[in-house]
């Protein structure tokens, strides 16, 4: 299945448009560009108990920076201070681990899901 990157096309088409800058269109564009971030239970207290967050981002890195601004505790749970993803945290874009794609530069398109999946260990 080909997923057409709607948001960049629309953004390009309406570039400079006064209409696009209006609040209503901004809201529509945010919905069009939105990706869904799935939060694992141990990190939900950092975002008010939410299991999902809707984020406007075109790369994994941009999504993480968005949550760093809105939910810094959640960001610290996913990335350490160097900006790298923590050792035991896995990030999946839809069904793909980001290490099998382009790491933090993995592109996101509208409707994608970004899943934070901690490793499970123990004995």
């Amino acid at each position: 299945m080909v997923v057409w990157p709607v948001a960049p096309v629309l953004r390009s088409a309406f570039s400079g448009s006064r209409r696009l800058r209006s609040g209503r269109w901004q809201r529509i564009m945010r919905l069009i560009m939105a990706i869904t971030l799935f939060i694992p239970p141990p990190l939900r207290p950092e975002c008010g108990g939410a299991a999902e967050l809707v984020v406007e981002a075109d790369t994994v890195q941009a999504a993480l920076l968005a949550i760093a601004a809105s939910h810094p505790g959640l960001y610290r749970g996913v990335c350490h201070e160097t900006g790298a993803v923590r050792r035991h945290i896995n990030l999946f874009v839809n069904n793909d681990h980001i290490r099998d794609r382009q790491g933090l530069d993995t592109p996101l398109v509208a409707g994608d899901t970004l899943c934070i999946l901690p490793a499970v260990s123990g004995g």
Partner: protein, 144 residues
């Protein structure tokens, strides 16, 4: 004899706090705080209004400093935990030791990778004092 005795007990599954009655015959146990996460160091700070600190060290989701302003009945996370500058390239792996500093609200934290951090506002902001020490096992402070 003080009215209440406070015991802070760091475990692999969080911090427990016991409050002893005047006669020390009974203790009320509270916790775990930071449930499921190892606490390697706790600090009962009797300066001022009294605070209780604990390092909550989660190998998966990172380190936190917990603080209680009612001597262990409720805890919350401080505004930040010790952290290296982004361009340093190192990441905090553990908080092994917490100690009260010489000044009111000054807290010291010995961490891994071996460095000593200081907070002068009760744990909300941290700065790195020494960043090239051997692994830190304890931190003690005295004004002499």
């Amino acid at each position: 004899m003080a009215e209440t005795l406070v015991l802070a007990i760091g475990t692999r599954k969080g911090l427990f706090v016991a409050h002893g009655s005047k006669g020390r015959k009974k203790f009320a146990l509270h916790g775990p705080f930071g449930a499921g996460v190892a606490v390697y160091s706790a600090l009962i700070d009797t300066r001022g209004s009294g605070r209780l600190y604990a390092s909550s060290c989660n190998a998966f989701f990172g380190m936190k400093v917990l603080v209680s302003r009612d001597m262990g009945k409720k805890f919350k996370e401080t505004a930040s935990a010790p952290a290296f500058p982004k361009d340093d390239g190192r990441a905090l792996a553990n908080i092994w030791a917490l100690e009260a500093g010489a000044d009111k609200k000054e807290i010291l934290a010995g961490v891994e990778p071996a460095s000593l951090f200081r907070s002068t506002d009760g744990g909300d902001e941290w700065e790195c004092l020494f960043d090239s020490l051997p692994p830190i096992h304890c931190v003690k402070v005295a004004a002499v």
